[in-house]
Symmetry: C2
Subunit: 418 residues, 2 copies
C-alpha cells in the first residue's frame, strides 16, 4: 500500500466533503445524524460481532485488562452511542452565528461569523465510542473528519464508520464527511499530521507516547491533551465532611480518567484534624498514599513521596498528599507541578475561593465540587472530542464550539483606504 498516496486521497476527499458540509443547513446535518443512528441501531449484530473479533485479538495479544475493558462494546454501549447521537442532534448549531456587529469610523460594517474549522484529524486509542462522539460533533459543526482509531479496535471502528457512511449517503451528504483510516500502519499517522494542504487541525487523544509523537512531528496545528495531574486543596476553612466526600469521589470514582484527583493539598491548620479520617477512608478503598513529611507523621501507612510524585498522573489507586502553609502555597504548588487540567479548592471562605479561581492557571478551576465534573457531558457540550490542556483555541472539554472558528465579515459601499 502506498501510504502517502492513500492519505492524500483521504485528504482530498475530506476537503471536498468539507466544502459541502460547511454550508449545509442544520436540518440536513441533523437528518444525517438521525440516519446514522438508525443505521447503527439496525447494525447491532454486525457491531457486536466486529467488537468480538477485536476482543478475541486483544485476549490473544494479552492486552491489559483495563484496555480490554475500554474496548468492550455491548448492547448498553450501543444504546449509549445512540443516546449520544440524539444529544448532539438536540444541541444548538453554532455555525453561521453572527456576533460583534458594528460600524467603524471608515464606514465599513464589521461582524464575526462562526464557521467550521474545515477538516479535523482525530487520532485516538482503544474506546470505539470515541468514533461516534468525534464523528457526530464534527458533522454537527460542519467539519469533515479523518479518524484514526487504535489498532486494537480496528474491526469495531470500521463497523461503526460503515454505519456512519451509510447514514451520510442516505441523507444525501458525501460519505467522505467521515472517513476512517483503514490501515494499522503507523506511517498513516505521520502522513495525516503533516497534510497541511488538506487538514486544518489534529486532535490526538491517548497516552503520553502518542501525544508526544504527534506534538513533535505535526505540521498541522494540534489541540492536545497532555495529562491530568488534578489537585484538590482543602482550605482550613473547609467543611470537613464535604472535603472528605469530594476527595473520595475525585480519587476513587474512576481511576483511569484524566479528571481524577492525583494529588491532595491540605492547609497545615486542618491537617492534624482531617488527615487521619481521610487517610483511613482512602486506605479502606485500597488507595496507596504517598505523603510529605508531615503527612507521613500523621498517617502511619503513608510512604514518603519523591519529588517526582508531585508531577505524576497515576491513573490508578495512588494519591500524593502534601501539607501546605496556606492558600498561596497551594496555588504556587499547583501552578508549578500541575498540568493545567482541573484543580479544585474546598473552602467556606468566598474570598479565598475567588483567589484560587484567579490564581490557578488551569483549564477548569472549581470550588467545592469534584474534579470529576470536568467533562463535556457534565458541562452541557453534549459530548467532547477531547479535553485540551493547551491554552490556545479551546481549553478544557472541546465540544461543538471548539470545532469552529470565526471569520470577519466586512460590508461596505465602496470604501477605499486613504
Amino acid at each position: 500500500m502506498d501510504i502517502p498516496a492513500y492519505m492524500r486521497s483521504l485528504g482530498l476527499a475530506a476537503r471536498n466533503a468539507s466544502n459541502v458540509i460547511a454550508t449545509s443547513p442544520s436540518e440536513i446535518k441533523n437528518h444525517a445524524l438521525t440516519c446514522i443512528a438508525e443505521q447503527l441501531d439496525g447494525a447491532r449484530r454486525a457491531l457486536l460481532a466486529a467488537n468480538q473479533a477485536d476482543l478475541k485479538q486483544a485476549h490473544k495479544r494479552a492486552l491489559d485488562s483495563a484496555l480490554i475493558e475500554r474496548l468492550k462494546l455491548d448492547d448498553t454501549g450501543i444504546d449509549n452511542m445512540l443516546e449520544g447521537l440524539y444529544q448532539v442532534i438536540a444541541l444548538d448549531d453554532p455555525i453561521g452565528t453572527i456576533t460583534d456587529i458594528g460600524r467603524r469610523p471608515s464606514g465599513i460594517r464589521l461582524s464575526k461569523m462562526r464557521v467550521p474549522l474545515g477538516v479535523v484529524g482525530i487520532i485516538y486509542e482503544s474506546r470505539p465510542n470515541v468514533t461516534i462522539d468525534a464523528a457526530s460533533l464534527c458533522l454537527k459543526s460542519g467539519n469533515a473528519c479523518i479518524l484514526r482509531g487504535g489498532s486494537e479496535s480496528i474491526h469495531s471502528n470500521q463497523a461503526i464508520a460503515s454505519g456512519i457512511q451509510r447514514g451520510l449517503e442516505i441523507a444525501g451528504l458525501p460519505s467522505a464527511t467521515v472517513q476512517m483510516i483503514d490501515t494499522p500502519d503507523r506511517a498513516a499517522v505521520g502522513e495525516l499530521i503533516t497534510l497541511t494542504e488538506f487538514v486544518d487541525v489534529i486532535i490526538p487523544r491517548g497516552g503520553k507516547g502518542l501525544i508526544a509523537r504527534v506534538s513533535a512531528e505535526a505540521r498541522v496545528p494540534v489541540i492536545k491533551h497532555l495529562d491530568g495531574n488534578c489537585h484538590i486543596y482543602i482550605d482550613d476553612q473547609a467543611d470537613t465532611e464535604m472535603a472528605i466526600a469530594l476527595a473520595i469521589n475525585a480519587k476513587t470514582h474512576r481511576y483511569g480518567v484524566c479528571n481524577a484527583m492525583e494529588s491532595l493539598l491540605i492547609a497545615d491548620g486542618l491537617a492534624n484534624q482531617l488527615l487521619p479520617k481521610l487517610g483511613a477512608a482512602l486506605l479502606a478503598r485500597d488507595v496507596q498514599l504517598r505523603g510529605c513529611e508531615k503527612t507521613c507523621a500523621i498517617i502511619d501507612s503513608a510512604r514518603a513521596a519523591n519529588e517526582s510524585d508531585w508531577s505524576e498522573e497515576y491513573l490508578g489507586p495512588i494519591l500524593s498528599i502534601k501539607v501546605v502553609d496556606d492558600l498561596n502555597a497551594a496555588i504556587a504548588h499547583i501552578n508549578h507541578y500541575g498540568s493545567r487540567h482541573t484543580d479544585a479548592i474546598v473552602t467556606d471562605n468566598p474570598q479565598r475561593a475567588q483567589r484560587f479561581i484567579d490564581g490557578v492557571d488551569s483549564s477548569s478551576v472549581m470550588v467545592n465540587a469534584s474534579t470529576r465534573f470536568a467533562d463535556g457531558f457534565e458541562y452541557g457540550l453534549g459530548a467532547e472530542v477531547g479535553i485540551s490542556t493547551d491554552k490556545i483555541h479551546a481549553r478544557g472539554p472541546v465540544g461543538l464550539e471548539g470545532l469552529t472558528c470565526q471569520k470577519w465579515v466586512v460590508r461596505g459601499d465602496g470604501q477605499i483606504r486613504e
Copy 2:
C-alpha cells in the same frame, strides 16, 4: 554565550512576571502603559540615535531600500508609537470577563472567565514599531512577552525595550513582563520556540522563510501568518466605477503589505466592458499585468500568466487577472489558490454577496470594500500583534482578545459525581 541557559533564564523570568501581570488590575496595567509612553517620549534622542546606528549598518550591508524604509524611525514615527500606546490604554480590558453563566443538572454552576495566555513569544523582522505594538498589547492583556526583533533593527529595539522596562519598573511591575532577546544569534530563536515549559504561544511575523522555519521547528503552539494572496472578484452586477476604485486602492495603496490585492477575478459578462478601463488605470500606475487568455485578448499589454501566478503573493506592482464564468467559479478559484487571508466581492446583488461570504474560506471576507481594511486598527482592535491565516484560536488580525483564552469556572456546594 550559553544560548540555552540564557533563553531558559528569560523564560523563567517571563513565567514569574506573567504570574504577577496576569492578575494585575486594569488601572495598574494602564498606569504602566502611561509610564512607558512617558519614558519613550523622554528618550526621543536616544531612540533616534539608536535608529541611526541601525540605518548606518543597513546601508553598509546594502540592504534593500524597502527594508531600510520600514526600519527608519523619525519623530513622527515616535509620535505614532505613543499614539498607539494611548489607543491601547483606551481599549477595554478583556481579562476577567465572565460569560456563559449557567447551572447544570448536577447543580454545579458553570461559567467561563477570560484569562491571559501566559507568556507570548513574538519573532519579527525589521519594523521597530512592532516592538511597542506587541509589548503594549501583551501587557494590556495580562501576558508577559519575550520579543525577538530582526538583527537589522537591534539597536532601535533595545532602546525601545529599555524605555518599556523603565516604565514597567516605575509602575511597580516586573521589568521581565517585556523582555527583548539581546543576541542576534539565530540559535536563540530555536530555543524560544521549543521552550514549552515557559512559553505558551509563538507569534512569528515576517517573511515566508521565517514562518516556515518556526512552523517546522516549534514545539510551542504557533499562531502564524503565512501569506496574503488576496482577491477581488468583480461580479457582472457590480457598480463599475466602484469596482475600479476598489481595485486600484487594493492594489496600489501600498504594495508590500499582506492585505494588498494580488489577483483580480472578473465575471465573463463584464470583462469586455470593464477590463480595458481598469487595465489602463493600472498601467498608468506602472502595475504589471499577468492575465489569463481572455484577459490578454482584451488588454494588449498584459502578459500571459503562468499557473504559479495564481498562487503568488507579489508584494509589488504586479497583478494577476482572470476572467471567470460566474460567482461559483470565483469562489472555487479563491478557495483553491488563495491563502485564506482576505478576499472581496464587488456586487450590487445581495444574494450573491451572501453566497460569497458563506462560500469563501478566508479570515476576512468583504463586500464592496477594499481588502486594505483587513487590519487591527481598521477593525478597532487598537493595534495588531499579527494577522493569523491559521484557523485555530484567532483568525485575521490578532488584537487583545487573540492574546487571551477562557478558563472554566465551576462552583458547587459539595457536588460529587455519581
